[in-house]
Amino acid sequence: MIPAHSRRKDKYTPRSVPEEKLATSAMIASLDAEGREAISAPFGHALVDMAKTREDIVGLSADLSKYTDLHVFAEAHPDRFYQMGMAEALLMSAAAGLAREGFVPFATTYAVFAARRAYDFIAMAIAEENLPVKICCALPGLTTGYGPSHQATEDLAIMRGMPNLTVIDPCDAVEIDQATRVIADTPGPVYMRLLRGKVPNVLGEYGYRFELGKAKVIRDGTDVLFISSGFMTMRALDAAVALAADGVSCAVLHSPTIKPLDAETIVAEAQKGGRLVVTAENHSITGGLGEAVAGALMRAGAHVPFRQIALPDEFLDAGALPTLHDQYGLSVSSITARVKNWLEG
């Protein structure tokens, strides 16, 4: 189902018009709410709300405020918003400077540009000094069809490698709202992945509360234990429903804090026994949640059957997002098919 190599054909082979015309998702498109209630710009609205009582909160963007929901804050508090232009290195340095002067800067860009271009500036100006800069980035993992320039498939691996940095991969609008408030109150630097625009409400019905550094069981089950982060928790929950219809009982342990990882809960859940442990992340198979979980299990001596649902260690194709999620194994149908396979095998 997932090709071993990219399906990209030779660029000198002419193409014919496809029968099924799926349009590439625009960068301004939201992650499809997938049959759920959608909430608009949860990050921007939470920040505006926080800023009412917190004079120290400021916002900065590198020419992407409209595309990271920070424009909501910029409109509400124009005097506290700094447009830094398309200059991501400067964005991080200037955020560090504002933090030195006692402010709590929320700096936004796309995940690729923070993780790849601005890494050294985050490391030395922000993280090494443990400054309270909150780096909040849209287009995490595979959430755009524009190809590798915009697909942040390795941002968690990169950011996990940074000492002092807290790394968060929230699932939905409810969690983005809560996590934004929590990180404003948390000392030190944070990298948070953002879903922006119309964001689904997934966790509301479970009475979920985000706690920094805590993984939480969203659904219990006896055959499979999904350990997931980001919107893959939504996909894992949907896969659990689909698999239940086939008599497979799945638990979902949501672990939005990638670093520091809640190893205690993860190991305890994995050791309950009798369950196939399946990590699910919107990220490369290299260096993200899956490998973090694997390391925690190994270190604890928890020898459990373990599988990873993640993006391949490749530069991904361009195309329509639903096509790409199928192709690279993030869709519900591809998750359920593989889980069944693993259980049979």
Binding site: S16, V17, P18, T24, A26, M86, G147, P148, H150, A320
Partner: protein, 285 residues
């Protein structure tokens, strides 16, 4: 070897080439119902001059060693370059219908692995000029007289990496490097003058101060653009060349020209046909 220079015996006029580029781009936009059409319409004249006046290339062999290199760092301008590549005969016109579709050779952001004639993978902005510096060094090393063109945007002037390349090109006396800036006064969050204190009329002086042969022109005035490209190619001094092209987003489609400018211009479903119909009424000879 068959080459296409546009400088010899080309009987299609530049206004007609620019018109065709706009038309191809609108048709692609119609296929997806979206696209960076404002940029494509704005830069069409500059592309017409690049591909049908200034550059040497071989349409059936886009990797011909003797070609002038054209590096598009602004990946989102791909729709504009595809239109030029179609007009140049490097891409077949009937693939317009595949624009942005799964498995297309014309993805929405320009990438070298997908498209004949797309030399570099753009999209992560601020890369093009640095790569062009290296290519210009490489061509000199090979004693290849070709030029390297880098088309960049006013937004890319915000990236430090652009200015690193600006300085290096002077250091290495890269007289085979021509930077073409599409200055449309627009970035993702709004007008360029609200981002990093840059505006039309101020840029050429900056580049000149660094040691470039700098010209600033109305990028929608074909004669002016032709003259600027000629002057850039023929300039005698051993320094890199830049042409700042002040362009109007959506140029050529009046009802879009006057629309509130945004980075990703909204075009309603029925407006693509209207825009095409308008162009068709104004077809130049």
């Amino acid at each position: 070897m068959e080459t296409q220079t546009g400088r010899t015996g080309d009987n299609v006029s530049l206004p007609r080439r620019a018109w065709s580029i706009r038309r191809h781009a609108l048709r692609m936009g119609e296929v997806q119902g979206q696209g960076y059409i404002g940029q494509a319409l704005g830069v069409a004249d500059v592309l017409a001059v690049s591909y049908f006046h200034a550059m040497t290339y071989c349409a059936h062999d886009p990797e011909w060693e003797g070609r002038d290199r054209f590096y598009l760092s602004i990946g989102h301008y791909a729709i504009a370059l595809y239109a030029a590549l179609i007009e140049a005969g490097i891409l077949p016109e009937d693939e317009i219908e595949t624009y942005g579709m799964d498995d297309s050779r014309m993805p929405m952001s320009g990438m070298a692995a997908y498209t004949p004639g797309m030399e570099i993978t753009g999209g992560s902005l601020g890369h093009g000029l640095g790569i062009a510096v290296g290519a210009a060094l490489g061509l000199k090393r090979k004693k290849n007289p070709a030029f390297v063109y880098n088309m960049l945007s006013d937004g890319e002037l915000g990236e430090g990496s652009t200015w690193e390349a600006v300085m290096s090109a002077v250091q290495w006396k890269l007289d085979n490097l021509i930077a073409v800036v599409d200055f449309n006064n627009q970035q993702a969050d709004g007008p360029t003058r609200e981002a990093l204190a840059t505006a039309p009329g101020t840029e050429a002086a900056k580049w000149a101060a660094f040691g470039w042969y700098a010209q600033e022109v109305d990028g929608n005035d074909l004669d002016a653009v032709v003259a600027a490209f000629d002057a850039a190619r023929n300039h005698p001094d051993p320094c890199p060349r830049v042409i700042i092209c002040n362009t109007l987003m959506c140029k050529g489609v009046p009802f879009l020209e006057t629309r509130d400018k945004t980075h990703f211009i909204r075009v309603e479903a029925d407006e693509w046909a209207k825009a095409l119909a308008h162009l068709d009424e104004e077809m130049p000879q």
